[in-house]
């Protein structure tokens, strides 16, 4: 037996837009089956997982707290992915952003000016951008594949963070716990409203949303990025500078991830800890594709992803479900999205072994 995919003659734009919804529905259906297999009633479990966490204002605030770093990372990734630069390193860029911001913040705990916060945020953002800059440099200078370099830099970033948390940045008065001192109030992000944890990172995320939307949809640089992604020869033919665009896309990507990281440590956490990110940078990859690399789509998909994080924690507490449920749902979501896309663009065809000859010829001829 041989399964082959043939391109469909007419691609349905409507179906391509519906495919994220379809993927979400399939994820729910499969999730329900999974719960049944685990001996839980599917509907109440889904309620615990997806509705209960956001049934009050506090929950909605928590949802946004989780969504913000994912949103910022995914917006940056969308810029890179539009240029077909596969930056998988948002996680590392986020961690380095958090580390860079913290390194400054613990040294100015006593500073009482609002500039402290500005400086810390800038330091984190620049650190994230610089970390992505490494990937850009390796790609433009040595033609190194950015997928590999950015993944490997994630692990370097994580170990750097662990080293600093256990070593130079450890709180001297912290009973040897691997965490930094609490930041000074002047370098903490203010809360949006009392009684929750939602912080002023919200405004940065909204700003980033508008900026990325303008960049990708309205600006000439965004146009160049898209041309580079779609057709490298055409980009060369009109003189768009590939190296500059690669640098730009990766720096934007890294800066936003760095900002996400520094907002985490100056916002809800308040100090540098080893668990700054429960994989926000990786989740952002799924989110960026789920949102079709479109800033508006990414807003919705990052909210969905945040809900899965929140619901996973809730299900763990309320129903004793393993925490892996979050990752499972993330994985299913991405899997179903990709599967839907493939089936919308291609028609699967089963062929028996004896028909292989025809298949080979057909593939060669149809291209």
């Amino acid at each position: 037996m041989l399964l082959s995919l043939e391109p469909r003659g007419q691609q349905s734009r409507l179906m391509l837009w519906c495919s994220p919804l379809l993927a979400a529905l399939l994820t729910l259906a499969c999730g329900s089956l999974l719960f049944i297999a685990l001996g839980h009633k599917p509907l109440p479990t889904l309620h615990t997982l997806l509705i209960e966490p956001v049934s009050d204002l506090y929950g909605v605030g928590e949802l946004l707290v989780k969504a913000l770093p994912i949103l910022m990372c995914a917006l940056g990734l969308a810029v890179a992915y539009q240029a077909r630069i596969w930056n998988i390193g948002a996680e590392g860029q986020l961690l380095i952003g958090a580390l860079g911001g913290s390194a400054l913040a613990v040294n100015i705990i006593g500073m009482d000016s609002r500039w402290a916060l500005v400086m810390v945020l800038v330091a984190g953002t620049l650190a994230g951008a610089a970390w992505a800059g490494l990937t850009a440099w390796l790609r433009t200078q040595f033609n190194a594949n950015e997928i590999l370099t950015s993944i490997m830099l994630n692990y370097i970033a994580l170990n750097l963070l662990l080293y600093f948390v256990h070593g130079p940045l450890r709180d001297p008065a912290g009973f040897n716990f691997p965490q930094s001192a609490m930041f000074g109030d002047a370098s903490r992000l203010p809360l949006v409203f009392e009684g929750g944890r939602l912080h002023a990172g919200l405004y940065f995320a909204l700003l980033a949303l508008v900026a990325v939307w303008v960049l990708l949809q309205k600006s000439f640089v965004g146009f160049q990025i898209k041309v580079l992604g779609l057709d490298q020869r055409a980009a060369g033919f009109v003189g768009f500078r590939e190296k500059r665009l690669v640098w730009l896309a990766l720096l934007i990507s890294g800066a936003l991830a760095g900002l996400a990281g520094v907002c985490e440590v100056t916002g809800p956490i308040g100090q540098l800890v080893p668990q700054v990110s429960p994989g926000y940078g990786y989740a952002a990859i799924t989110v960026a594709f789920l949102g079709r690399l479109n800033p508006i789509g990414i807003v919705f998909s990052s909210l969905l992803m945040a809900l899965l994080y929140l619901g996973g924690e809730n299900a763990q507490m309320a129903m004793n479900l393993p925490q892996a449920i979050t990752q499972l749902f993330q994985g299913m979501m991405l899997f179903f999205l990709l599967a839907c896309d493939v089936l919308i663009l291609y028609r699967p065809r089963l062929k028996l072994r004896w028909a292989r000859r025809t298949a080979a010829v057909a593939t060669a001829g149809a291209l």
Binding site: F220, F223, L230, R233, A234, G239, F240, T358, V361, G365
Partner: protein, 515 residues
Amino acid sequence: MPNPANTPRLQLRGITKRYPGCLANDQVDLSLQPGEIRALLGENGAGKSTLMKIIYGVTQADSGSVLWQGQPVHLRNPGQARQLGIGMVFQHFSLFETLTVAQNIALAMGPGQTPSQLEPRIREVSARYGMPLEPDRLVHSLSIGERQRVEIVRCLMQDIRLLILDEPTSVLTPQEADDLFVTLRRLASEGCSILFISHKLGEVRALCHSATVLRGGRVSGHCVPADCTDLELARLMVGDAEGLVAHYPKAQGGAPFLQVAGLDWTNPDPFGCSLRQLVLQVNSGEIVGIAGVAGNGQDELLALLSGEQRAPAPASIRFAGQPVGHLRPDQRRAQGLAFVPAERLGHGAVPEMSLADNALLTAFQQGLVAKGMVRTRKVLALADEIIRRFAVKTPDAQAPARSLSGGNLQKFILGREILQQPKLLVAAHPTWGVDVGAAATIHRALIALRDAGAAILVISEDLDELFQISDRLGALSGGRLSPLQATAATTQVELGGWMAGRFADTSTPTPALAG
């Protein structure tokens, strides 16, 4: 004879195919005898390619039936068509660029035959039909003309009963085309039926026994091409044939604009063509035509002129005296260059992007960008103007470039460059695969641009076209350029000799180049 003489090899009955927004084929009937060479004529967008794709199983008709040797068949994919003995050479090639010639051919032959086993046969077939090919060359290093040879040879490798050729001669020299015709006639005499799409009416008349003309998706007439004049054929195709066979007065040209002096460039690709001591001057207000068989340095010269490939010495290429050899494409455009590359999709236009975005692609220095932002309204206005002025057939400017037929896209790309009012236009194969009506539009536009004072360099393999529009002519052969000669003072025979490399070496640089 395997078939009774009265059973057609192929019969189409009432074929109808509808695409969103257009009726590509409307109740088309066609019948083809064994050994018959049939021309399929029609404007771009008349539905020829769609009909061929239905016969080859690439797409399926909405209604109507296909009869193969009298038996109804339902062709679901090209594999089936190949098994029946139908071969097709596409206008857009279907080759894997990262594989060698032999590997590409082996893929089409199916399992059981390795590329190395096929090599001797490839050499034999390609030599027999006068299409020299190196089986172990990688396809990406081949020029358009050479790639087409691979396509043709690939079809000839199998037991072929119907060969469909979509503009096969557009990249061949007259001599090569004649050789191909010998091949095709031999194939036909062996009983193979041939469907031949071409816009070159002279060829159709020389080769084809009969012709079917499509207009707007319908059969608008049948004729015996040998008995018809160009004008009669053209009238069947476009309805109104005014000004199709035009003669343009030759121009003298003014001050030199493009000066290439002693341009030497060594190709890093060992199979590619290196340029040797190129000397070329194009004056404002004249059209210089450069002929040559594909793969003789055209691609390399084009890349060096456009700036995709930087010249080794800045001063070896000058615009109005200014050295530009070191400048990027956009910087050269800022100095008045416009450029039409040989490949429309993937080079001259981004297939997935809309026509409006593709207008922006090269015209971004024409006030379409303000403070880093794209002025969408102006871009749309420009795209609409190109579509209107050059009669591009498309629903609107939002249609993706990929959805246009080859000729329509060419009109759009040429229009885009011409509307930028360049001082120098470099155009590669400006009317390749374009119907007579559109070719006349493009020629008129080029002449008008010349008369407005632009310097124009046309690189083409269509000698009739070069003689029709060029004021001076030359030929590239093996990376060397023949001396340029006023069109009136040369003949097709002499130009053919230059294409074969029979000219004196002109390595002495022109003495009076203005600095």
